[in-house]
């Protein structure tokens, strides 16, 4: 059966694998579950609105107008940091394209040698030396890459994230290399804001009680106190505690992930090779280091081929290089992954990568349409490179436009 292909230009974010949601045509990138993020927004905006509405007028008259002004500045800063953390790319590593995945597979097979039938192949680990310490790099079966040091795979977002800290449902996104400083500043400024509002709540009640008595004060002011006091109280303990914890991590140049796993603790373990052994230097690196750009290029344009079934036998113009397998999706794996039951072979292709050109269910159909040269399932010898060619070059696969600045 032949098909006519029409090509259309799409933004790369539409074809990105993983479980992120994108808004504003790829400018905003978040996790799928956003419910808790909306709750965070509601609590912050709600509490501050009540403060501005009911206490600020009294305090600005009886104490100083600087009080609400400072509160507004702090509130806007908190919102800016929250939105920056939630909407930006945390440092997602793109998945390996088929050629790279195959190259890595070959290297692994060459390193493992001949595994006797029935025996489990050894775990895929690469040892590297970092600042004099041996660090193990694990292989990610979903992304088909050896994870760089400090990267980890988030099972909620289904992406490998560089310098993965944790997935935070309160901000609705992962916290990684690119947005860690915004996350930290968010928790820090929110702590300050909570303490500020809590303090002035108490000052307000005390001042009014001095004027007109405590019971009358409670009767006069509307029933916002229970809500605000409760929110502030719980926020204080949790957010201030979290800020303290992250301050500790920053001073040691560790991530939450490393702390939980105990990567650098214990006598027999490796010492943290990333720490400068100086608290100030560690803080400067994490908070004032360079602003890393996103490697995802979400708003870049690419060609997308949509096959339209036609009666005439028109050959396809462009197509996928290696559509050899029926297995079109990599299995969904939790963070601490277990290898596939089937031995991964070269014919497995990383399905959804940035340069993917057609929807997945149609891939198998198209494999018969293209002049794909035969590709062996396993290499004859470890040293010989198996042919990966397609008749068409993929050099002009995507339209090259300047990379747009995104969060």
């Amino acid at each position: 059966m032949s098909a006519v292909m029409i090509t259309r230009k799409v933004r790369k974010w539409e074809k990105l694998p993983g479980k992120n949601t994108f808004c504003c045509d790829g400018r905003v990138m978040m996790a799928r579950q956003k419910g808790v993020f909306y709750l965070t927004l509601f609590l912050i905006v709600g509490t501050c609105s009540l403060f501005f509405a009911f206490e600020c007028p009294y305090l600005s008259i009886h104490l100083s107008p600087a009080i609400p002004v400072f509160a507004i500045v702090l509130f806007l800063f908190v919102l800016a940091m929250l939105l920056r953390t939630s909407f930006s790319d945390p440092g997602v590593l793109p998945r390996a394209l088929p050629e790279e995945a195959t190259f890595i597979e070959m290297e692994i097979e060459a390193a493992n040698g001949n595994v006797p039938a029935g025996q489990r192949p050894p775990p895929r680990i690469r040892n590297v030396q970092i600042n004099g310490q041996i660090v193990k790099l694990k292989y990610c079966y979903t992304c088909k890459i050896f994870r760089p040091p400090r990267a980890s795979h988030c099972s909620i977002c289904d992406n490998c994230v560089d310098r993965f800290d944790h997935h935070c449902p309160w901000v609705g996104n992962c916290v990684g290399k690119r947005n860690y400083r915004y996350f930290y500043l968010f928790t820090l400024s929110l702590s300050l804001l909570t303490i500020y509002i809590f303090t002035f709540d108490i000052v307000h009640v005390v001042m009014r009680s001095v004027d007109s008595g405590f019971v009358k004060t409670l009767q006069d002011t509307p029933g916002t106190y229970p809500f605000k006091v409760l929110v502030c109280f719980f926020t204080l303990w949790s957010v201030v505690g979290l800020t303290g914890f992250h301050t500790y991590l920053i001073s040691l140049n560790q991530t939450t992930n490393e702390d939980i796993k105990g990567s650098w603790s214990g006598k027999n373990r490796v010492q943290n090779p990333y720490s400068h052994k100086n608290m100030l230097k560690n803080c400067c690196e994490v908070l004032c280091g360079p602003a890393y750009p996103s490697v995802l290029d979400r708003r870049g344009l690419m060609q997308d081929n949509l096959p339209i079934p036609a009666s005439a036998g028109l050959p396809a113009i462009q197509g996928n290089p290696v559509p050899q397998t029926t297995k079109t999706t990599a299995p969904l794996l939790p963070n601490e992954h277990t290898p596939d039951d089937t031995k991964p072979s070269i014919s497995d292709s990383a399905i959804a990568h940035a340069e993917k050109r057609s929807p997945s269910p149609k891939e198998e159909k198209q494999s018969t349409l293209h002049k794909v040269l035969p590709i062996p399932i396993s290499p004859p010898t470890p040293t010989k490179v198996p042919p990966l060619a397609s008749p068409e070059t993929d050099a002009d696969a995507s339209v090259i436009i300047p990379r747009e600045k995104t969060l």
Binding site: A80, Y182, V385
Partner: protein, 159 residues
């Protein structure tokens, strides 16, 4: 037989992709972006060792400049923090400026050195800064076995 290409356009339109070679990251100094200066054996017959090593060394210098932790990056960080990072929406960061320089450099290297030898260097940022991809092309009409990496059959093709 010589596999010579005169420019990038000719490379793209008349050549077929034979294989891709990947230069991996060098993590010996931590998570800073650096690429290994180990010369891949598959390129032995295609390009002089010193040329590729020079390219990789220059790129490593660029990346080191982008990620340098010094007065300028601290100033930029503090200024941005003071404006709640709104300034990043209008201003180009130092890292982005260096990345632009890198892509110009790679384009230039491709035009001058790699395309005439039937190779194409891909900007590492297109591959998530994980690897530096070198695409090896074979001329369409040069030989029937255009799929193997046994390019040594071409004899001395270097200029």
């Amino acid at each position: 037989m010589a596999t010579e290409f005169h420019n990038l356009q000719e490379l793209r339109h008349s050549a077929s992709l034979a294989t891709k070679v990947f230069i991996q990251r060098d993590y010996s100094e931590g998570t800073v972006c650096r690429f290994q200066n180990k010369f891949p054996s598959e390129l032995d017959s295609r390009i002089e060792r010193t040329l590729l090593e020079e390219t990789v060394k220059t790129l490593n210098t660029y990346y080191a400049e982008a990620e340098k932790m010094g007065g300028q990056s601290y100033l930029e960080g503090c200024l941005a923090c003071a404006t709640a990072y709104v300034i990043f929406l209008c201003m180009e960061t130092h890292y982005e400026k260096v990345l632009k320089k890198i892509s110009v450099y790679i384009q230039e290297q491709n035009e001058k050195i790699y395309a005439p030898r039937g190779l194409l260097l891909t900007d590492p940022i297109e591959r998530g800064m994980r690897v530096m991809e070198v695409s090896v092309f074979e001329d369409h009409g040069s030989s029937g076995s255009s799929l193997s990496s046994s390019v040594s059959s071409g004899g001395s093709t270097q200029r």
